[in-house]
Symmetry: C2
Subunit: 345 residues, 2 copies
């Protein structure tokens, strides 16, 4: 089924309201989910609403905006999200960072007692829209083995940086593992082997069996490099926030306890370093230069980080968002008890 952006967003928001979620929280989460759909990250889009509502209904996530500032300095914030929906604490943190960075030049915030917040790029793009450089990372349950270890320790912790230009923002949003867990799940469904270098089995041996990899751990990019990056995310999101590191967190798809994840976000205001126009022009000159490089064999076009997302957003804003039938059925089931109808464009 195909939906207009506002229509699908409205349905998500109304469904959350029907489940008792505060209006401001419902608006924030709906906006975040639709942003993921627009930018082509459907894995973090409306398909997540069902699990979010299941956790809310079970009392594992607060229906309210229970976010509060625990500690504040001119350029830092320590935030307790009070087990609010993940996007609520993270968006609050980035908005506060942007406001404070406007004054002092930069601001960084930690968030603890939080939940799955969707795609990290949603928050960094907020900063880029304000002429700032945005940073965001979060931790999640343990899936990646540290370099040299046979067991997982770090989550598939995303790292995002977004930068304004004269055109689309340059947006990096990456996990420090060679592949996301989703690629193993897909290979298993299709009965296919995975390449060596993606995962270790439960004994820490490289494996081509996706099921063995899922039971074991993911391999970080660049060995000690990706491993070190993921550990730094654990430190920033887990230790500096007080949330705890990956092995002490709870999974989105298990119902034993609140997730308890931590985030680390920040904004650097370009205008405190140089004229924002000059910066935007400099970034655009760089992207022009990169676009002008000879493509590698078998590559049609050199793409910048964030370029595919920008194209997807422009296209989907115009033609609408296609949602697979299985996801539509899930969405419809969420609203149906409350008399809400999911309607096609």
């Amino acid at each position: 089924m195909r939906f207009a952006v506002g229509q699908l967003k409205g349905y998500c928001r109304n469904t959350m309201l029907a489940h008792g979620v505060d209006a401001d929280c419902a608006e924030t989460v709906a906006d975040m989910l639709l942003d993921a759909e627009l930018t082509g990250v459907a894995t973090h889009g409306v398909s997540r609403l069902a699990i979010y509502m299941e956790r809310v209904d079970k009392g594992l996530v607060s229906k309210h905006n229970d976010v509060r500032i625990v500690r504040e300095s001119p350029s830092t914030l320590a935030i307790d999200a009070g087990n609010s929906l993940g996007a609520v604490g993270a968006k609050f943190a980035m908005e506060a960072c942007i406001r404070k960075a406007r004054e002092t030049g930069c601001c960084f915030a930690t968030v603890k007692n939080s939940n799955h917040f969707g795609a990290a790029a949603y928050y960094t793009r907020m900063a880029a829209r304000e002429g700032m450089i945005g940073f965001c990372c979060t931790n999640l349950t343990a899936k990646i083995a540290p370099h040299g270890a046979a067991e997982p320790f770090m989550g598939t912790d995303p790292i995002s940086v977004a930068v304004p230009s004269n055109g689309f923002p340059v947006v990096l949003d990456m996990t420090p593992s060679v592949v996301a867990l989703g690629k193993l799940i897909l290979a298993q469904k299709l009965g296919k082997d995975i390449p060596l270098g993606w995962a270790l089995d439960r004994d820490g041996k490289p494996t081509t069996d996706p099921a063995a990899g899922r039971a074991g751990s993911l391999i970080p990019i660049g060995g000690p490099k990706g491993s070190g990056l993921a550990l730094m995310v654990e430190i920033l999101s887990g230790v500096l926030s007080g949330a705890g590191t990956a092995t002490h967190l709870h999974d989105l798809y298990e119902f034993d306890a609140p997730q308890g994840v931590g985030h680390f976000l920040g904004a650097i205001d370009v205008g405190h370093f140089l004229d924002v126009g000059a910066f935007r022009a400099g970034v655009s000159a760089m992207t022009d230069e990169v676009k002008g490089l000879r493509p590698a064999e078998g590559v049609d076009e050199v793409l910048l980080p964030g370029e595919r997302a920008a194209r997807s957003a422009a296209e989907k804003a115009a033609v609408g968002i296609d949602v697979p039938d299985a996801v539509c059925a899930e969405l419809a089931a969420l609203g149906e008890p409350y008399g809400l109808k999911l309607k096609e464009c």
Copy 2:
């Protein structure tokens, strides 16, 4: 030859003084070179003094501390290094960031018109010693091909993050390429092939020939991930600083012009988020947990980022620093015209 730390540092400092370098600049550079030797990064240690002095003698690098603050906010600094020796501007920037972060919670600085600054971890460890989280990156001449491109654009731009704990600091210091250029140079010297996945030839094709790889480009870790990280370093160090991106810089080993590289450094003061003791204990609990993981097959011990460096520093501070004969000959030649003698322990 083996040297006591103070002795080798003194020789480096006196050699720089003899070449006309300002006393404070000579002290900073000598300290940075010896820190690299101590932490086991000999590639960035005293073996670099000869090229630094050759550039100074040729007038390509200033003998003076010409660093000045161009723009300042409560939590940001834009610095012009005035073509001073690289360590001079970078150390000044990190010291200023630490001072300002103590007040506001964090501070980030750009540095332009700078030069090769040695190992990035030297600067981030300064912050960790003060109970802060240190960040540092720099750009260098173009060597890494963006994901999907057949030509180099980004430098082998190091990224360092350092974090205090109760024991050794956790220190990441990585380039976003699969291997450093030095590994290709070594393979070529030894007449050996390199594995596919390290480098592209001049046509952008994967190559096993180290000479072809040197003429071509290095491959980033994790495809678009390492590529995106390197582009972000170019933006922070090259565009935000005003220094320019990799393709517009000059090489340390070419004598056509000042290098003109840019740095980006910062410090986040842990004490503005939570009690520093609690943070250190949290990081140590994490490192204990990682050390306690089962090692992968063929691995004796799981090592944390910065652990090898800390062991090396403790050992070398006690027994001294071994310098290869070829490097000793270079060092001796630098001081000899001024009557300086390089003496063993």
